[in-house]
């Protein structure tokens, strides 16, 4: 009786949003359709059909491994399922861009549209096959084991054997197909990102525009029909058939093949995670905390959904209210397949009549997410009951243990529900956008979708990594102890995660949040090739109220700085060789600019009138890749270079080589990528030894290292000397400008990674104009150069 009441309460969850939506359904008089429903039938069915078949195929190949060996593989499978499809698609598609071989070939050959669709299909399959695999691993089969061995002995072809296996296993395959179809039809964000118009994207658009029932019904029916069909078929299959024994996918006495699982996991789990390295971005630590909180919340939903199992399993076992339970289950399954935007709108409307606390605690969101999670619980309950061996069933009827009694099958089912329920509630953009309480900050999924649209790969890959690692850790802990005590593990695990979040919360605050931004006096640039704009500026130098900047488009621009403004006075295209990436420039008091033409193996000079001459050449000096140039005592020109050899060449004004300082290495006087040079007032030569993460002061005559400073610099690319003798360093790796006192070693930083004013992205260079009392910082990642008053850089 108690279960019946509980069932009715749960059904209330299903009915509420429908009521809410019907109450709120506006009567839009305008037609909000961009695509005719009929034109969407083909693409939608094709996508759902092909992806489901692919996912079930892969899942069927992997399922035996899950049955045979289990735990670690289950954990990895769940991690694959947990990754948000849209993010997986986005990272793979970002890898295959114009710079990649495949991407370039696609653009050249005009088949980018095919590449896009192939990557989308792969992403959809990669996140749905685990669902199929887990379901199939749990479903026993009909028919004797010996049949398969007989077929092999008889020499039946592979196709024949597959056909026979399909006939035997059709309930499980049908259920798996239904589940995958539902998952695909819910992957609206992935279709959006891939610019594929399907019924679900058009449905969400029409709902967002307040489309009336008549305009929404068509696309709703189309997007839900395949999934509904599969789900109903699955329920029917599980409720009509009674299974004899616990026959498994792997015949007795045989070890299942593991390589399908390994290959599938490598492609679907390792590949998205490896993109962090391939895309070459630093992680966005600020989003890690939001990810952990979202995962915890999702596990909470999974636990609530697991409670549903205790409602349905006894009901199904009793057999007294079969019809009622079946009807209830069908209603629930249907509601679970409703577009979440609809459910979210319904609960949003309902919240108007409920106390404010309901919304503030996020209970509306919990209820909206419980719909699909509870449906999984329903299917799993049916599986638990129907797959119990007859003998055990009879024993239970005799013993009549209490309804909360946990046997191994029940425990397995609960863990599946928690895991799959968490999976389906982790990334639900429509629900989060509509029902997340304002006090909790922007939901993770909104930040993730924004990051994908605004090209912030660091956030996307960080979330993928964090989610996968959490899932794997959770799965490992759950699998570590014997399954019997599984319930013990979930509790401590959840508590541990909670404690970790709150206790370690400070530890994962990104360090640049504490770095004060630069006080920007003036900003020059912005991306572009017009005068006054830059394309990846890398070097600057300033003196006498003038500053010169060189950038990756091979231009030198000269600005005059007066009364707080910089005006372009010269804009020269340099005759650069190779890729044209000069990374060093020096501006003399006479207005002549010396440029280290990094890929041309030479040093150029540009006069204020625009004449360009070559000052130092490769043939005469053996120069390969100069990084910076600085005139020194006795009129000699000092040129640092890196690449094949790390050293400093000292040349006479007419380009002849006088001597060489240093070599590649980590010892004093040796360098790894000497990126910048600067002379101090006493004639010492400071070198930014970038890949050794240090600064060296050398004797310019002998090359002996007089002083070495580390001060925590990370890839110091730019260097200049302040009037007081302190150093100002721009760190490409640290994303800061650092002031260092060479005598005491103390340092202070400004900037920090970010897009706000005064924050930096990979600053390559810094230059001090002593006359104007201004420091120019080349903020390369933002394509701009900023001026900061020297007094703003005081201790």
């Amino acid at each position: 009786m108690a279960q019946l009441v509980a069932l009715l309460l749960w059904l209330g969850l299903v009915v509420c949003p429908a009521i809410g939506f019907l109450l709120s359904a506006p009567g839009a008089t305008h037609d909000v359709a961009l695509h005719e429903t009929s034109s969407l039938v083909g693409p939608t069915l094709l996508w759902i059909g092909l992806v489901s078949l692919g996912a079930v195929g892969v899942g069927r190949c992997v399922a035996p491994a899950l049955q045979g060996r289990g735990r670690l593989l289950v954990a990895l499978c769940l991690a694959s399922a947990l990754l948000p499809t849209a993010a997986v698609f986005w990272t793979w598609y970002a890898l295959l861009d114009a710079q990649s071989v495949i991407g370039a070939a696609a653009i050249e050959g005009g088949w980018t549209w095919l590449l896009r669709r192939a990557v989308l299909a792969a992403a959809l399959i990669s996140t749905t096959w685990p669902l199929a695999a887990l379901l199939l691993a749990g479903m026993p089969l009909r028919g004797p084991d010996s049949l398969r061995s007989l077929q092999r002995l008889d020499g039946v072809s592979i196709i024949g054997r597959v056909k026979a296996a399909t006939v035997r296993e059709w309930p499980g395959l049908l259920a798996a197909t239904g589940l995958c179809a539902a998952a695909v039809s819910m992957a609206t964000t992935a279709f959006d990102l891939a610019a594929e118009a399907t019924a679900s994207t058009e449905l969400r658009a029409r709902l967002a525009l307040g489309g009336g029932l008549s305009q929404v019904a068509g696309v709703w029916a189309l997007s839900m029909a395949p999934a509904l069909f599969g789900a109903i078929g699955a329920w029917w299959a599980m409720s009509r058939r009674r299974y004899q024994g616990q026959r498994t996918l792997v015949p007795q006495g045989k070890r299942s093949r593991i390589w399908p699982a390994i290959v599938a996991l490598a492609l679907t789990l390792a590949l998205p995670l490896a993109t962090l390295l391939w895309l070459g971005v630093a992680p966005d630590m600020g989003i890690v905390r939001a990810t952990i909180e979202a995962v915890i919340r999702a596990v909470g939903v999974g636990l609530l959904a697991a409670a549903t199992v205790f409602v349905f399993v006894p009901l199904l076992r009793q057999g007294r209210y079969q019809r009622l339970v079946s009807v209830g289950a069908l209603i629930w399954l249907t509601a679970a397949l409703l577009p979440r935007a609809w459910v979210a709108a319904g609960w949003g409307r309902l919240q108007q009549w409920l106390p404010v606390e309901f919304a503030d605690l996020g209970l509306g969101r919990a209820a909206a997410l419980l719909l699909p999670a509870g449906a999984i619980a329903l299917l799993v309950s049916a599986m638990i009951v129907r797959t119990q061996p007859r003998a055990q069933r009879d024993l239970r009827a005799l013993d009549a243990p209490p309804w909360w009694h946990l046997d191994p099958t029940m425990i397995k089912g609960l863990i599946s529900v928690i895991a799959l329920g968490a999976t389906w509630s982790l990334f639900a953009p429509a629900v989060e956008a509509r029902l997340a309480p304002p006090g909790q900050g922007p939901p993770l999924v909104s930040r993730l979708v924004d990051a994908m649209h605004y090209q912030r790969p660091e956030s996307v890959v960080t979330v993928l990594w964090a989610v996968a690692l959490l899932a794997i850790a959770g799965g490992l802990i759950a699998a570590w102890r014997p399954m019997r005590s599984a319930m013990y593990q979930v509790g401590p695990l959840s508590l541990l995660i909670c404690m970790g979040v709150w206790g370690g919360g400070c530890a994962i605050e990104p360090e640049s949040e504490g770095t004060p931004p630069l006080q920007v006096r003036h900003l020059v640039g912005g991306p572009g090739t017009d005068p006054g704009r830059f394309v990846t500026p890398r070097a600057a130098d300033a003196t006498g109220h003038a500053v010169v900047v060189v950038d990756r488009s091979g231009r030198l621009q000269r600005f005059e700085w007066s009364s707080g403004e910089a005006k372009v006075v010269q804009h020269v295209d340099l005759p650069l060789k190779g890729n044209g990436f000069p990374t060093g420039v020096h501006l003399g008091d006479d207005g002549h600019a010396l440029i280290a033409d990094t890929h041309g193996g030479r040093v150029l000079q540009v006069t204020p009138t625009g004449e360009i001459t070559t000052v130092v050449e490769a043939e005469a000096t053996g120069l390969v890749s100069p990084t910076d140039v600085a005139p020194g005592p006795e009129g000699l020109i000092y040129v640092s270079e890196y690449g094949s050899v790390d050293r400093i060449l000292v040349c006479s004004p007419d380009g002849a080589l006088v001597r060489v300082l240093g070599q590649s290495g980590g010892a004093p006087g040796e360098f790894r990528r000497p990126q910048a040079l600067a002379f101090d007032a006493s004639g010492g030569l400071w070198v930014a030894d970038a890949c050794n993460h240090r600064l060296q002061r050398l004797d310019p005559k002998t090359g002996e290292a007089l002083q070495i400073i580390e001060a925590g610099v990370r890839y110091p690319y730019g260097l200049d000397v302040l009037p007081s003798g302190d150093l100002l360093v721009s760190e490409y790796g640290g994303n800061v400008v650092r002031r260092i006192d060479p005598e005491t070693g103390r340092s202070r930083v400004w900037g920090g990674w970010g897009d706000g004013v005064g924050q930096l992205r990979t600053p390559w260079s810094v230059a001090i104009d002593h006359d104007a009392q201004v420091a120019w910082v080349v903020d390369t990642g933002h394509d701009q150069v900023v001026a900061v008053d020297l007094e703003a850089l005081a201790w």
Partner: protein, 347 residues
């Protein structure tokens, strides 16, 4: 025993779910619905909090539906509004809410003197820090001199099937088309708008769900030669390393027919519980300080206050489309009906 465990599990579940219920309301706070990029909005809100001590809880929406989704939410919550301020990245949705009576007028020191072109007549909404609509192309596939000068020429036969636009039902694309229509109608040239619609129908434009970013992606990937998008989306793509050119297209030759500028819009929601703080926030958004922050940000919005314009000469657009934003927003739905009919007719 098991029952106790079970009950414990249930309580744990609820605790986990609600575990980050947020800070208590001890400091003054606001709820802002914003369709601006979340990362930019967080910086702005952080700066506002640093200046005033008022903390702001922001609610956004997914990129594809941004302002439209938030406007729908404001409508749904009309009886008991959650939001205090609506900060939208375009005008049309805000203006529609004003006509439906869901906003309150804001008459403060900053808003009283706000230029008429950039605000509602009765101060229901105020536009600021606009960004231009641009045409984007890949210089490796299209030479600069082959790119048309006006928006009508983009739909010519030469570029049939090669132009990508975002879904016009959402965001700045819809606002742009509605403004175009309004501008032509205001000049008594309905035929010009009809010709544009006919060209739209013939030109087989690729309509991309996924917003302006998807449009730029289509150009980057070679699926389209030209893209109609916002400048900040092109800048984002350039930061990602793509070589792209863009131009602020005119609507016709001659003054007053220049680039389309889409302003941000901010409004006070009717029924807001924190009116004083909300007005303070609106004033701050309209101030030179906010204009400077937005101009220096990655989205490179053009500053409107005179005092700030001189600091960002590279962002100034001197000849823009002189359109009545209020009227354009008022007729947005009609414009959309016509555009959708043209696009559907093409497919």
């Amino acid at each position: 025993m098991s029952l106790v465990r079970l009950a414990g599990g249930g309580v744990l579940a609820l605790v986990l779910f609600a575990c980050d219920a947020g800070d208590g309301p001890d400091s003054p706070s606001l709820v802002v619905y914003s369709s601006v990029d979340e990362s930019l909005a967080q910086q702005m809100l952080g700066a506002f909090k640093a200046d005033t001590g008022i903390s702001v809880n922001m609610i956004g929406d997914t990129e594809a539906f941004k302002s439209t989704g938030l406007a729908a939410r404001i409508r749904a919550e009309a009886a008991r509004p959650l939001a205090d301020v609506f900060w939208s990245s375009e005008v049309a949705q805000v203006a529609m809410l004003a006509r439906e009576g869901l906003l309150q007028p804001v008459r403060t020191a900053s808003t009283r003197n706000w230029p008429e072109m950039w605000r509602d007549q009765d101060h229901y909404w105020h536009g600021f820090s606009p960004r231009p609509r641009v045409i984007v192309w890949d210089p490796a596939r299209l030479a600069d001199d082959e790119v048309p000068d006006t928006w009508s020429e983009v739909l010519s036969d030469q570029f049939r099937g090669q132009v990508a636009i975002a879904d016009p039902r959402f965001g700045t694309t819809g606002g742009h088309l509605a403004s175009m229509r309004q501008w032509w109608l205001d000049q008594g040239r309905a035929q010009a708008w009809q010709s544009f619609l006919d060209a739209l129908s013939r030109s087989q434009v690729q309509v991309r769900s996924g917003g302006n970013a998807a449009t730029v992606d289509a150009v980057v990937r070679g699926e389209a030669l030209l893209g109609m998008t916002d400048m900040d989306d092109v800048l984002a793509a350039r930061r990602a390393g793509h070589e792209l050119h863009m131009r602020l297209l005119h609507h016709e030759q001659g003054p007053g027919a220049g680039a389309m500028l889409t302003p941000n819009a901010v409004a006070l929601v009717r029924g807001s519980h924190n009116k004083a703080e909300a007005e303070q926030f609106i004033d701050w958004l309209l101030s030179p300080r906010a204009a400077r922050l937005l101009a220096a940000s990655p989205s490179a919005n053009m500053p409107l206050p005179e005092s700030v314009r001189g600091e960002f000469p590279q962002l100034m657009v001197h000849d823009w489309l002189d359109v009545d934003h209020t009227a354009a927003a008022a007729n947005w739905q009609v414009a959309m009906d016509e555009v959708l009919a043209a696009l559907r007719g093409a497919s």
